[in-house]
C-alpha cells in the first residue's frame, strides 16, 4: 500500500526525518509512536505532500508520489486529519463536510453562473457523501449544529468524516485521540477498526499507549527522526531499544 524508501527531510541542518524506510500494508492499522519532536508529524506531512522530502521515495500502490503536490496526493486517495482541525465554527457540521468531496467534482465558475446541471448533480453527490461520512462516524444527529456547539470528541469525529468524504484509500490520523477522555478514546478506536473493516488503510500517530497496543497491527517507532524499531505491539513492548529510548520509566504505564 504505502512504501517508504530512505525518506529524509532536512530543515536547515536538522534532520526531522532521517533515512526512514517502512512498508505499511493495506487494510491494516499502522501506528507511529515516538517522543515529542521525533518527526512523526513531519513524516505525515511528507507522505501527504505538504512538505517535499529532501531525499528518498514515497510509493503509493506502486505510484511514485514523492514530488507530488498535496492536492494531487489527496486525489490519489490519501486523506488526513490534523492535530487540530480548523473548521468553520459558525456553520453547521454538514456544511463543513460538503467540501470534502470537492476533489471528486469538476464544476467551475461557469457552472456557478449558469447553475449547470453538472453543478447541481455534483452538489447533490457531495451532500450525499457528507451525510454518508457523518453517518459512518456516528454523528448524523448533530448534522445541523454549529461546529462551535459540538464537543471535543465530536470534533474529532467530524475531522474523520471530512477525511472520509474525500474517498480515501489511506487515512493518516494525527493524534486522533488527543484531548478526549478514556471512554471516548475507546469509541474512536472502534471507529478506526470500522474504517479498516470497510477496506481502508489506517495510519495514525498517537501517544495513548493502551489504545495503540490494543489495536495496531504494526507499530513504527521514531526517535530523533530515525526509525528505531518496527513490529507488532508485542515485539515493540519487549524491544529493549524502544524501552530505553522512549518508554523508559513509563514502562509500567504502557504495559
Amino acid at each position: 500500500m504505502l512504501k517508504i524508501e530512505h525518506l529524509t527531510k532536512m530543515f536547515g541542518g536538522l534532520a526531522a526525518v532521517n533515512d526512514v524506510s517502512v512498508v505499511f500494508e493495506a487494510n491494516k492499522i499502522n501506528a507511529i509512536i515516538g517522543p515529542n519532536g521525533a518527526g512523526k508529524s513531519t513524516f505525515f506531512n511528507l507522505v501527504s505532500g505538504l512538505h517535499q522530502p529532501t531525499s528518498g521515495r514515497i510509493l503509493l500502490d506502486g505510484v511514485d508520489v514523492t514530488q507530488m503536490r498535496c492536492d494531487k496526493v489527496a486525489q490519489l486517495g490519501v486523506g488526513r486529519t490534523f492535530q487540530t482541525t480548523n473548521l468553520f465554527e459558525q456553520a453547521t457540521v454538514l456544511d463543513n463536510l460538503i467540501v470534502g468531496h470537492r476533489l471528486r467534482t469538476r464544476s467551475g465558475l461557469w457552472d456557478v453562473l449558469i447553475n449547470s446541471r453538472r453543478l447541481q448533480a455534483e452538489e447533490k453527490a457531495s451532500r450525499d457523501k457528507a451525510r454518508e461520512a457523518l453517518d459512518f462516524v456516528g454523528l448524523s444527529h448533530v448534522e445541523n449544529q454549529y461546529i462551535a456547539d459540538i464537543t471535543q470528541e465530536e470534533r474529532k469525529r467530524v475531522a474523520f468524516a471530512l477525511a472520509l468524504a474525500t474517498d480515501p484509500k489511506l487515512v493518516l490520523l494525527d493524534e486522533p485521540a488527543a484531548g478526549v477522555n478514556p471512554e471516548e478514546t475507546d469509541g474512536l478506536a472502534e471507529l478506526m477498526k470500522k474504517m479498516v473493516a470497510n477496506g481502508l488503510t489506517v495510519c495514525l500517530i498517537e501517544h495513548k499507549m493502551d489504545m495503540i497496543m490494543g489495536m495496531a497491527d504494526k507499530i513504527m517507532v521514531l526517535d530523533h527522526g530515525e526509525k528505531i524499531a518496527e513490529g507488532t505491539p508485542a515485539e515493540i513492548k519487549s524491544n529493549p531499544v524502544v524501552i530505553e529510548a522512549y518508554l523508559g520509566s513509563d514502562e509500567d504505564a504502557a504495559a
Partner: protein, 341 residues
C-alpha cells in the same frame, strides 16, 4: 421579536428590501439623497468584491481600492482621451481589472496571511503612485475630466441622477445575486475551506493557487465594475480614488455589515454611508463619535450585523434541541453517579 427575526430569514424580506430600493427615489426628499444612495450602492458592489477574497477566501487584500481606481481610470481615460463611448470602455474596464488582478494575484498569492496583506498594501500604493506620477497616461494630479456617461440607447438619459440610480441598482442586484449563488455552490465552499486553513484545504485535494487566483480575479473584477460605475457617475476622477483610505473604508463596511455574509456588505455600506452623511455637520470631528462606535461593535459583535443576527437565529432554532440534549446528558451523569456509588 422571534417572529420578526424569522421573517428576516425569508425570501420575502429580500423582496421587501428590493422594493424599498426601487421606490427610494420617490421617497427621497431631494435628488442629493438619491445621489448618496447611488454612490453607497457603487461602494457596496466593491465591498462585495472584497467579501469574496477576504470574507470567503480569507486573504486580506489591501489593494482593493487600487483596483477600484483602475476600473475608474480605465473607463475615464478610454472615454475622455481615446473617444471610446461608455459601454465599450465599461467592458474594457472589467477586462483590465480582471487581467491585472490575475497578474497581481499570481505574484502576491504566493505569500500567505499578513505577508499577503503587506504585499497588497504596497501594490495599492504603487497603483496610487502610477496614477499620480505617470502624467503622460493619467494626467497626474490633475485627474481625468469629461468622462463619458452611460448612454441609454435612446431610451433613458443616465446623466440624470434617478436613471443612473436604477442602473447602479441593477448592477448591485446582479452582484448580490451572483455572490449568493457563489456562496452556496461548491466553489464558494472551496473558498471557505481555504479560509479555514491552507493545509487542511490542500489535504482535501483543493488546488490552492488556482482557487485563490480565481477568488482574487473575481474580487478585482467586482472592484473594477464599481470603479467604472463610479467614474460614470462623478465623471471626474483623480489619483485620490486609489487612496488607501478607500480600502480601509471598505474593510470597515465589511466588518460592520458582517464579513463572509451575503447581506452584510450591503447593510454595512449603506448604513455607514448614511451615518457619515448625517454626521457631516461635525466635519472631521465625526470620527470622535464614529471611532468608539466601531471599537464597541468589533468587541461585542465581531461578526458584524448580519453575522451576529444569523448566529442568534441559529441558536433560537437549536434551543429546543439543545435543551433536550442537556437534559439527556444530565440523566446519563446521574446514572453514572448511581453506578459509581
Amino acid at each position: 421579536m422571534f417572529k420578526f427575526g424569522s421573517f428576516l430569514m425569508t425570501p420575502m424580506a429580500k423582496y421587501l428590501m428590493l422594493a424599498f430600493a426601487l421606490v427610494f427615489p420617490l421617497l427621497a426628499k431631494n435628488e442629493y439623497q438619491v445621489y448618496v444612495m447611488a454612490s453607497a450602492f457603487v461602494w457596496a458592489i466593491a465591498v462585495y468584491g472584497l467579501n469574496i477574497i477576504t470574507g470567503f477566501c480569507g486573504q486580506l487584500n489591501l489593494a482593493h481600492g487600487g483596483f477600484f481606481a483602475i476600473g475608474a481610470y480605465t473607463l475615464g481615460l478610454l472615454s475622455s482621451d481615446y473617444g471610446w463611448s461608455f459601454w465599450p470602455a465599461f467592458v474594457a474596464a472589467l477586462v483590465m481589472t480582471a487581467g491585472l488582478g490575475f497578474l497581481v494575484g499570481v505574484v502576491s498569492l504566493r505569500l500567505k496571511e499578513h505577508y499577503f496583506a503587506i504585499f497588497t498594501l504596497c501594490v495599492g500604493f504603487i497603483i496610487y503612485l502610477l496614477m499620480d506620477k505617470w502624467e503622460e497616461l493619467t494626467h497626474g494630479p490633475i485627474g481625468v475630466r469629461d468622462i463619458a456617461a452611460p448612454y441609454g440607447f435612446g431610451l433613458v438619459d443616465f446623466t440624470n441622477t434617478v436613471p443612473f440610480y436604477y442602473l447602479v441598482l441593477a448592477f448591485l442586484v446582479f452582484a448580490i445575486w451572483f455572490m449568493g449563488r457563489l456562496s452556496r455552490s461548491l466553489l464558494g465552499r472551496t473558498f471557505i475551506a481555504i479560509r479555514n486553513g491552507d493545509e487542511l484545504a490542500e489535504s482535501l485535494g483543493i488546488n490552492l493557487m488556482r482557487n485563490k487566483i480565481l477568488a482574487f480575479v473575481l474580487s478585482t473584477t467586482y472592484a473594477g465594475l464599481a470603479g467604472a460605475l463610479y467614474a460614470g457617475m462623478v465623471r471626474f476622477i483623480g489619483p485620490e480614488e486609489a487612496n488607501i483610505n478607500h480600502t480601509f473604508d471598505m474593510i470597515t463596511y465589511l466588518l460592520v455589515g458582517g464579513i463572509g455574509t451575503i447581506t452584510g456588505p450591503l447593510l454595512g455600506t449603506v448604513g455607514i454611508v448614511w451615518i457619515t452623511q448625517s454626521l457631516q455637520f461635525l466635519e472631521e470631528y465625526r470620527m470622535i463619535i464614529f471611532g468608539p462606535l466601531l471599537v464597541l461593535l468589533v468587541i461585542f459583535f465581531p461578526r458584524g450585523i448580519t453575522g451576529s443576527f444569523l448566529g442568534w437565529m441559529h441558536h433560537k432554532r437549536q434551543q429546543p434541541q439543545a435543551t433536550a440534549k442537556r437534559q439527556a446528558s444530565k440523566a446519563t451523569a446521574a446514572t453514572e453517579v448511581e453506578s459509581n456509588a
